[in-house]
Symmetry: C2
Subunit: 252 residues, 2 copies
């Protein structure tokens, strides 16, 4: 499968509004250092899907036939932000959206879905074959019902795990048996004294990488604080761990 990161930032993104730290300052002159909100594009020979939709310009990036379906982790606005203008698309075959069963949705998105079909609610650990990808939803630890996804295509297995703080026990057990080749994991904060209730810091992300043991883990949902910590701590990520960045593209 081909994975392209479109947005790798947390809800504030990089640059953070009104922030003059070196990370945000540099991102205002060097667009490659910007981080839009959570969004990625995953393709196989026959299927093209968005994972989350936090970037505001998805309508400009993707024509209708470039998207077969959308996979949502949860309904926080930084993960559905780009759907709002797109929903008013014209003469559009409906776009199926798969995600947690959360009738409240976000703002009036589910009341006025427009071109989106949000009826495809998923249940934890109930796998579905979506065209040529087998998708298993995985419960996460977050303030809203959130689902991670185990995505299997041939022998490549991608685990998409954001937004979360640590992982529920049965999700870890599933992943230890399922053995993802690549993991994409929420890593919002530099080392924290106390775990954050909704997001991983770098220590908990590294611990999850070692506990589950994929070949590689890409860290996403990154705050300017984490970028700043990396730029000043001199810390080197252990082998197999990488900081994702907007535009990063790879085979998984």
């Amino acid at each position: 499968m081909q994975l392209t990161f479109i947005g790798t930032g947390d809800c504030a993104g990089v640059p953070v509004y009104n922030c003059t730290c070196p990370i945000c300052a540099e991102s205002r002159t060097n667009p490659q250092k910007r981080r839009s909100s959570c969004c990625a594009y995953l393709t196989t020979e026959t299927t093209r899907l968005l994972i989350d939709a936090g970037a505001p310009d998805l309508g400009d990036r993707f024509s209708r036939n470039a998207i077969d379906l959308i996979l949502l982790s949860h309904y926080h606005i930084d993960h559905v932000y780009g759907l709002f203008p797109m929903r008013w698309g014209s003469s559009c075959k409906p776009i199926p959206v798969y995600g947690p069963d959360y009738p409240k949705g976000c703002a009036d998105l589910l009341q006025h879905p427009g071109i989106f079909d949000f009826s495809h609610t998923l249940q934890p650990f109930i796998s579905q074959q979506l065209t040529d990808i087998e998708i298993t939803p995985l419960p996460l630890n977050h303030s809203k019902p959130s689902l991670g996804y185990a995505l299997k295509y041939g022998n490549s297995r991608l685990a998409w795990l954001s937004d979360t703080s640590g992982l529920p026990g049965d999700t870890i057990n599933f992943l230890k048996k399922w053995l993802p080749s690549t993991m994409v994991l929420d890593c919002t904060f530099p080392p924290l004294e106390h775990p954050h209730p909704n997001h991983n810091d770098i220590d908990s992300a590294i611990a999850l990488h070692h506990a589950i043991g994929p070949e590689s883990t890409y860290l996403t949902h990154i705050s300017h604080d984490l970028d700043f910590w990396f730029s000043t701590s001199g810390f080197l990520l252990p082998q197999g761990l990488h900081l994702a960045s907007d535009g990063l593209n790879m085979r998984v």
Copy 2:
């Protein structure tokens, strides 16, 4: 006062996603034909304010000290869209937001206001002096509690009226006495057989212009349908009426 239109489109904007009409097609190659969602910037010698915040990139456009306050017409997402990423600004003096008393807000905006102070709720016809501008909220006809604004600075009087379908009687009576020099008015649709419940078509907008009689009226909240109708009907706007466009800047 100096007025700059930042977004003059309806909730779908121009281009509309997946639309291949000549208007949307041209806007994809000629950025001046694009219409972002409802937003304008109004300045006097000492005050700088945003009217609505529909554009998604306000954090890039305005530094903290370029905004003294924000005036919201209502909490539909196409009018508050740009506030979501901005709210997480860092080390920021709170930005006062004035608008209708609508505790539901939009998504989790009022639950997690960040740098915004939404406590400044306004009541219809109760004027307030905000620094050097006298602001009188005016009830509109819309699906959510919506306020238009009569903005007086010296002898220039700007009436901002969107989103609305027609105007309530007492708002029209107020404006006939107040005599705006400039009006900005919701004009979403080309001529309709039946009035739309929430937005004006070109006929109702022109009728309101003649009924209230400002020197000039700028039409905003424009759909690709209205742009298309103007490009094919050969219709000429009566003297004093103008189609707003993103980036248009003028003294009012």
